[in-house]
């Protein structure tokens, strides 16, 4: 599903590589934690997968496409296969829960009939049935993150990328979000989650990738958070 071949990323005007000689493969349906201190290259890793940047060197394949040679106009097609969840939710204020999720389908031109069917279904999956008409900003943090997950998953992407999705949530609420991501992962959706939350990583016992100063220092199946 995702393959890094000797990928190096330099930002313009910077001496040090943000990522250096990364080689790894993530299969369909895997659940992967990405750990490492701030500035270790986690964000760059995720942004390369989203094709916000191109690798400076090496090849990166996502969903069968070589991102180095992907045309500008093909990028939206790539992004439709990736769902993105952020630490700060990034919902649209003034829109209801339903509208926030439906927005992601409207703007890629899905037919209204499909939207009316799939949005309630997805909201039920994330446990928000009955809250469709509430405004996004009226919900608790955990509920807002559920809306964000619903929006990321509503188009049934092949990959979900979550950048510290529990960073703004208390431990109990975090567990709920992790259960949700786990359930999504069981539908053969690849999940990549960057996190600083040691207890979650230690509990889940999934594959762990650790970055330090832009280098991949650990790739461990059923790993723990360690001392990253």
């Amino acid at each position: 599903m995702i393959k890094f071949e000797d990928v190096t990323k330099f930002y313009p005007g910077q001496q040090r590589a943000a990522l250096r000689n990364i080689n790894l493969e993530i299969d369909k349906g895997e659940f992967v934690f990405l750990v490492g201190q701030s500035g270790s290259g986690k964000s760059t890793f995720l942004r390369l997968i989203l094709r916000e940047y191109k690798p400076t060197k090496g090849n990166l394949y996502v969903a069968g496409k070589n991102l180095g040679t992907l045309n500008q106009w093909q990028v939206p097609q790539l992004r439709r296969q990736i769902g993105m969840v952020f630490q700060d939710f990034r919902l649209l204020p003034g829109k209801t829960v339903y509208e926030n999720v439906a927005f992601a389908l409207q703007v890629i031109g899905k037919p209204a009939q499909h939207i009316r069917r799939i949005v309630p279904e997805t909201l039920e999956l994330v446990g928000l049935s009955g809250k469709e008409r509430r405004l996004a900003e009226e919900l608790s943090g955990g509920e807002q993150q559920r809306v964000a997950v619903a929006r990321a998953f509503v188009n049934r992407p092949k990959i979900i990328i979550a950048d510290e999705p529990t960073g703004n949530l208390d431990p109990e609420t975090s567990v709920g979000i992790m259960k949700l991501l786990d359930r999504i992962n069981r539908t053969e959706t690849t999940v990549i989650m960057a996190t600083h939350d040691a207890s979650i990583v230690d509990q889940m016992r999934r594959r762990v990738l650790e970055l330090r100063d832009g280098e991949l220092v650990r790739d461990q199946a059923k790993g723990i958070y360690g001392n990253a």
Binding site: R51, W73, P76, Q77, L78, R90, F103, V107, I108
Partner: protein, 300 residues
């Protein structure tokens, strides 16, 4: 589609004051630009008609005339007249030489000033005999005109080029000043459109961020902004077209054409041509700044 139209409408309404400012600037700058185009086709029209007809007139002496190569109290003698004609015909630049007698000149005068009080101020005796010269190439008039002025019996050489050249350079200056001013205004309009769209995009930056993230196409993201500036631009174009058409009708059809029959005037075809060019410029004026202003929101 519904989303696009709704976003366009809300963008226009949110920035109503700015939208009106854009429409006014676009309308004024395009009107000026169109007026420049129309002036320029009028100047070309006059040039085309007149440069063909322009002749050099060599006026001969009468008993009353003085100056030039005239002898006080004597008219041009027949011998002189013959010499002048020969010399002019011998000049390689000259294509044809016509002779216009006093009587003919007086008839022409009567015709031109038929309804004028000036008619009674002249008699046939006061008119002058003259040679009218048609040149092979109207641009090379200096040599012929200088040679004619040096011949005995010639009172004055009147060369229409001198008159017309200063007229045309004045008209040309007006025309270029109009187009230059409109260029400044067009620049102002472009900057204003780009600012308005920048504001509009900034107020929608969250939505745009989400759209990019979930894979909305660039066209889908851009369309509300393009429509927003196109609506303002097209209203501006319509206002400018109306001003040009009304201006043409009132100034040229109703006034100039009726009172100045000696000049050829541009017709509705030229007006529509100017409006067409102006509309194309107007649409580019709306689209190009919008694309530039939204560039950073659609690059991935």
């Amino acid at each position: 589609m519904r989303h696009t139209l709704r976003e366009t409408w809300s963008g226009l309404r949110r920035n109503l004051a700015m939208t009106i400012a854009v429409i006014v600037t676009v309308a004024v700058s395009l009107t000026l630009f169109g007026a420049g185009l129309m002036t320029s086709s009028e100047v070309n029209l006059i040039k085309g008609r007149w440069y063909d007809k322009v002749e050099i007139s060599v006026f001969l002496c009468t008993e009353y005339s003085s100056g030039g190569r005239c002898v006080q109290g004597e008219g041009t003698t027949d011998a002189q007249r013959a010499t002048i004609e020969e010399t002019l015909k011998a000049n390689p630049e000259v294509q044809e030489v016509f002779y216009e007698s006093k009587q003919e000149a007086f008839e022409e005068f009567q015709r031109v000033f038929a309804n004028s009080p000036l008619l009674s101020t002249r008699t046939a005796e006061q008119m002058q005999d003259s040679f009218r010269i048609k040149l092979k190439n109207p641009e090379n008039y200096q040599g012929v005109s200088a040679e004619a002025a040096g011949l005995p019996g010639v009172q004055q050489v009147q060369d229409m080029h001198q008159v017309l050249d200063s007229l045309f350079s004045a008209l040309g200056a007006v025309q270029w000043a109009t187009i230059a001013m409109s260029a400044f205004l067009l620049l102002a309009a472009a900057l204003q459109i780009s600012n308005t769209i920048r504001l509009s995009a900034f107020s929608r930056r969250r939505e745009i961020g989400i759209m990019r993230l979930v894979g909305a196409s660039n066209l889908y993201i851009l369309l509300p902004f393009l429509l927003e500036s196109l609506v303002a631009g097209i209203i501006g174009i319509l206002i400018a077209s109306a001003m040009l058409a009304v201006g043409y009708y009132v100034i040229i059809v109703q006034n100039a054409q009726a009172s100045i029959t000696a000049l050829p005037w541009i017709g509705w075809g030229d007006v529509f041509g100017a409006i067409l060019i102006m509309a194309i410029v107007g649409i580019a004026l709306a689209v190009v700044p919008t694309l530039i202003a939204t560039r950073k929101y659609v690059q991935v």
